[in-house]
Amino acid sequence: MKILVCVSNVPDTTTKIKLSGDMHSVDLANVQWIINPWDELALTRALELKEASEGKIEKVTVMLVGAKSAEPTMRKALAIGADDAVRVDAEPLDAYFVAGQIAGAIKDENYDLVFCGIESSDYNGSAMGSMLSEFMNIPSVSSVSKVEMDDDQIVVNREIAGGFEVVVPELPFVAIVQKGITKEPRIPSMRGIMMARKKPLKVVEASGLEALTEFVKYEPPQPKAACKMIDADNVAELVDLLHNEAKII
């Protein structure tokens, strides 16, 4: 059995995002890059499954669509314990593009289980996993909060309103994972970091597929307006302001 974990390279979650003057780009100077937190959880769970599988899962591969500058993030994934890594050499333009590139790059590889995070913490698109399963023409299960291996089956819990659903999908399938899939992301050890040096990191050319969306510009939320405090006893004034000033009643 082989597992693929799709990872994206995102700014550290504590980064203060600054936009360029023309609102067209994000200022990336001094940004620390990390593995998208959901992907890191997925990778950790994939490695746990592999270790518990008594050899049944022979390989965990990480896959990223991105420029060369994203390679440190892949090296970190290898240091955490992935066996090998594949990078499609292209800027990740939109979810359709990324999913299409991944599907193209792995079409001959026969992965039995593909992990994706439920979204990436940069653009929060939440679309890549389902698009990937479409491209691959295989099932997908979203909001997965638990993955177990039972003989040759993969059993997943899918979060639904008020509880969860237990699903045994046909292999191969895409598991789109949530928090809860494992306790904490695994921290690479110093030896793991040294071993990652020697692990294969393959770079493949992007296919001719084009993005479906065109990015126009960023727009920050309106700054908070000043807040008027009205005395709790002064209902008349409140009604008056809502009526005449805010004009909502």
């Binding site: 440190p72 913490s121 929060n124 050890s189 030896r191």
Partner: protein, 402 residues
Amino acid sequence: MFIFAPTKNNNMPYPYNPPDYFQIDELLSEEHKIVRSAIRDWVNRSVVPVIDQAAHEHKFHERFIKELGELGAFGPFIPTEYGGAGMDHIAYGVIMTELERGDSAIRSTASVHTSLVMYPIFTFGSEEQKRKYLPGLASGDLIGCFGLTEPNQGSDPGGMEAKIKDMGGHYLLNGAKMWITNSSIADIAVVWAKDENGIVRGMVVEKEWTGFSAPETHNKWSLRASVTGELVFDDVKVPKENVFPEIKGLKGPLMCLNSARYGIAWGAIGAAMDCYNTALQYSLERKQFNKPIAAFQLQQKKLAEIVTEITKAQLLAWRLGKLKNEGKATPAQISMAKCNNVEMALNVARESRQILGAMGITGDFPIMRHMMNLESVITYEGTHDIHLLITGSDITGIHAFE
């Protein structure tokens, strides 16, 4: 939307964003940065949530040893065949910076373990000694300590009174060591003592051996989350195969100290950066006279001086690391870096604490703890004065110790 909020940590009042004013990051390799993020993640997860209370309770969490072993933070520059990671000295430095950002106690444990216990066994030990002790020390299954300082001999270890006597089949060890980090929790001690000819020899002493005791020293106001104590040897039989075969004289312990001092030169920057990170963010939030206190020139002067000093220390440490990787770092250069960077950190802690006003004295912020810790750091591994004397002797050619 699923916002991936970093877990709220009561003991981390602000997100940790250390300064990199001179783009020193560009001087680090991809691997160094992974090392840094790994150790930082561990510190955030394992140390930050408990360290304030541990310091209050004068308690060392022994689980740190196991976790540091699993991480590979012990003996990172020791070759993999002995359980190390085979990394370079800059990686070791980066690890020390991140650990000391958590607490000097954690860095002290890692320094002692790596530079004062694993390093001498690796450098001076016989093949059997290396195979016997290094893998266990690397994994954290064995805890080590280093006994050089004595009740009557601190800065002048050449005057040590601990002695070994050749009994034919073994040596008999007598004497006492004081101020020993990890003493009462250690499984083995690297001990330095004089033979009958007055020559300093090093040896590995095991906790279980008859006549060896290691009482803890209580009542410290510094490094409260680290164990410090004595080593007492009363006719301890040391098998000959436990003595380092070749190394003789003070050169042995001094080489160990060089390795540890190197790590401290990097480590102290971590404590300083934690103080600065706290002071900067607090000064932007705290308002007095209708303005953030960061808007006042006096506070800006403090912050500007702090970030300048940290930047200088970073560059010193990085260059020293390069020299060490090339095998060219001299003991005098290491002394200068230890001396400068620890004093810098202590000054940064004091200035940062003032920026926080009364809040600065509480355990809600890490500054006071760092400040108290650094009072030990400026004394151990050669006092500040002794390092100045080393530099003085190096540049004038005149030895002014005696």
